[in-house]
């Protein structure tokens, strides 16, 4: 889960990372008031859960409270990469001498956290990483020991910092490590860490992504999830509440299956025969009739769906539960479209009997079923 900049900065504040003086505003008037209190030039930043905010015009400058008001007004009406702006962060503008990048993320293949440092921070850090990989210092942290002081100093030194600067950058990195550990972060970044013309080190921007699986240890954030502030669509949230994973796609064939890998393979099979999947829906392990019935309802709530392919390979999941769910869903379905079912595995015979009694046909090969559903949709389209 990605946090807003102002939430990430709250976490930074707790470990003593220096931040610019600031205030959070939900209206233009509040923004003006904060600007007045701060005095002098300010920077006003849209609070959205999307990257590339600066380049999309979500960061603006203002020299006076009046200017702050009009700028904030403009930002609060914006939508950045489909995210509406509800809040702006008003911060004192800094006199920049240097921009540094500091980040900690998880390296999947090494199964370790990796600390990253560069003396060339700022919005173009990704281009720096590509064009000048030698300007980026990486260090893989032992997950049992954690980042140690001398390691942080070595990282700073390798990134080109000497003397007092090395000590300062190492100190910032150790504090960032605390943010990473305390918040169960998948990623945390200061970009840029600014060295002001007066020589102060200040975290100008903040990023913090938290591992969803750790939310039981982070009660306040868990509440935010349940209050529905999320990057998901409405149907995706509905599926999640029912214990399923649903992802909307562009095509017209609804896909339901059990197990993420099998559902992806089902999408690929549909594509192989020239069809286009409308969604990914994994009913999860051990789905009940109730859950199966909800899955059908969710998939058919997407207006583009012209046919549905249900692909079940019963392991923990029982075919009789699935079959019952399909039968139960029939009278309640939002629309009538052709449904192709492939069902094998645990309690296959019992499941088959339920479907046969309801006159619902099914197949035992995923490949045949994929071909069938693609043909059905092209018939619908040409009719």
């Amino acid at each position: 889960m990605r946090l807003f900049e102002y939430e990430a900065k709250e976490a930074f504040h707790q470990v003593g990372l220096p931040l610019p003086p600031s205030g959070l505003a939900t209206t233009a008037e509040e923004a003006a008031k904060i600007a007045k209190e701060l005095g002098g030039p300010v920077v006003i930043k849209a609070q959205v859960l999307a990257g590339g905010r600066g380049k999309a015009g979500g960061i603006k400058f203002a020299d006076t409270p009046n200017e702050a008001k009009s700028v904030a007004e403009e930002l609060l009406q914006m939508t950045i990469h489909e995210h509406a702006v509800h809040r702006v962060l008003v911060e004192q503008r800094l006199e920049i001498q240097q921009e540094i990048y500091l980040g900690i993320t998880i390296d999947r293949s090494q199964r370790r956290p990796v600390a990253i440092c560069s003396a060339m921070g700022g919005v173009d850090i990704e281009q720096v990483a590509e064009a000048h990989p030698e300007k980026i210092t990486r260090f893989w942290v032992d997950p049992i020991f954690g980042l140690r002081d001398f390691e942080a100093r070595n990282i700073a030194k390798n990134a080109g910092f000497e003397g007092k600067a090395m000590i300062q950058v190492a100190d910032m990195l150790l504090r960032l490590w605390q943010v990473f550990i305390r918040n169960d972060a998948e990623l945390t970044e200061i970009n840029p860490l600014i060295v002001t013309t007066k020589g102060e080190y200040i975290a100008a921007d903040a990023r913090l992504n938290i591992d969803d699986n750790s939310l039981f240890r982070h009660k306040t954030l868990a509440e935010r999830v349940s209050s529905g502030i999320s990057e998901q669509t409405e149907l995706e949230q509905r599926a999640q509440k029912a214990g399923m994973t649903y992802v909307e796609l562009e095509g017209n064939i609804g896909i339901i299956g059990n197990g993420a890998g099998l559902v992806m393979a089902t999408m690929d099979a549909v594509k192989y025969y020239g069809g286009a999947p409308a969604n990914f829906l994994d009913v999860g392990g051990g789905a009940t009739a109730e859950r199966m019935s909800q899955a059908l309802d969710i998939v058919l709530s997407h207006p583009d769906v012209e046919a549905v392919f249900i692909n079940i390979l019963g392991g923990i999941t029982r075919c009789d539960e699935i079959a019952q769910g399909i039968v139960d869903a029939q009278p309640k379905l939002p629309r009538k479209v052709p449904i192709v079912i492939r069902m094998i595995g645990t309690r296959e015979k019992e499941g088959a009997a339920i479907l046969e009694a309801a006159n619902i046909p099914f197949l035992d090969s995923m490949d045949t079923a994929a071909k069938r559903v693609v043909n059905l949709v092209s018939e619908v389209d040409s009719a």
Binding site: I106, R108, S109, R111, R112, P113, D142, P143, I144, I181, D184, E186, D211, N213, S214, F216, R217, T245, V247, L249, E250, G257, N258, G259, A260, G261, L262, V263, M264, A265, M267, D268, A269, V270, K271, Y272, P277, F280, D282, G285, L313, G314, G315, I316, I344, G345, T346, S365, M366, D367
Partner: protein, 289 residues
């Protein structure tokens, strides 16, 4: 021969008194696996299916010195502790079925296992099966059959799909391993490929990958340099869009990395046969064996 588990494997079930733990203990016993004991803290002294329940792994190990594998059904927030306990007690194969374990916890017990020389399989895995000998997992056993093909997969049900295709075509399996669907897992394709290469009774390996991460690309490099036996690969998620998690926490294409195309190219370049559909595994094997 098989890899990781066989007739001699002695299994401990951690979380044996829970619903899942109990159900799958029965299923493993039915298959003929040697489950010898279980643990649930606070329930030491009880019995489940005639098996003794202990409070701790170390107590179980004292009673049953031959214990060499464990399977974990403990809820997510306690599962990392259970895995650490098993590794600490010297269990060699620790299979973590539990899903949704915090990633920071996973990194720590996987690192500990690396130091102690234990294998962690998973988390979020269906487990391991050496057909006809031992099932250390939750997979439906009837789709597997003894034979000479190694199977390694990041996905559960897709493993069953391919195993069923293999079995239907008359190709049995030496061992099938689910690596798990999390972004961080203990055993990797590389670890498993190494074991199958050394196993005299495995003739070829089928690798089932999916989008996200770089495990398949790393496997490709390893195959090119170290593997002499044929490798057949299937990659799920060719049609998955960027930036959307496809169910498994690990299955996400982020930026330029983790795409199915990249993985397929890397594997082909390394000499693996990449198939388009799970059903094509039969034809591919017929050609090479």
């Amino acid at each position: 021969m098989t890899i990781l588990i066989d007739k001699k494997t002695r299994i401990l079930v951690q979380g044996i008194t829970g619903r899942e733990g109990y159900f799958h203990t029965q299923a493993m016993l039915d298959y003929g696996s040697s489950v010898v004991a279980g643990t649930t803290p606070g329930k030491g002294g009880q019995e489940i299916e005639g098996l003794p329940v202990f409070d701790s792994v170390i107590e179980a190990k004292e009673q049953f010195p031959k214990l060499n594998a464990s399977i974990i059904f403990v809820p997510a927030r306690f599962a990392a502790d259970a895995a650490t306990e098993a590794v600490d007690a010297g269990i060699k194969v620790v299979t973590v079925i539990t899903e949704h374990i915090p990633i920071h916890d996973e990194m720590r017990f996987i690192e500990l296992a690396r130091r102690q020389g234990s294998y962690v399989v998973g988390p979020n895995t269906p487990g391991i099966i050496s057909p006809g000998q031992c099932k250390l997992g939750i997979m439906p056993a009837h789709v597997f059959t003894p034979g000479r093909i190694g199977l390694i997969s990041r996905s559960g049900t897709l493993t069953y799909e391919v195993a069923a295709s293999l079995t239907d075509a008359g190709f049995g399996q030496s061992t099938a391993i689910g690596l798990g669907g999390d972004p961080i897992v203990g055993m990797s394709f590389v670890d498993a490929l190494k074991l199958f290469e050394e196993d005299k009774e495995t003739d070829a390996t089928v690798l089932i990958g999916e989008i996200g991460g770089s495990a398949e690309e790393e496997a490709a490099i390893f195959i090119k340099e170290n593997i002499s036996k044929p490798v057949i690969a299937y990659i799920a998620g060719r049609t998955a869009p960027k930036g959307k998690r496809m169910g498994h926490a690990g299955a996400i294409v982020s930026g330029k990395t983790g795409t199915a195309d990249g993985k397929i190219k890397a594997l082909r370049k390394a000499g693996a046969i990449v198939i388009d559909r799970p059903i094509d595994v039969d034809e591919a094997l017929q050609k090479i064996l």
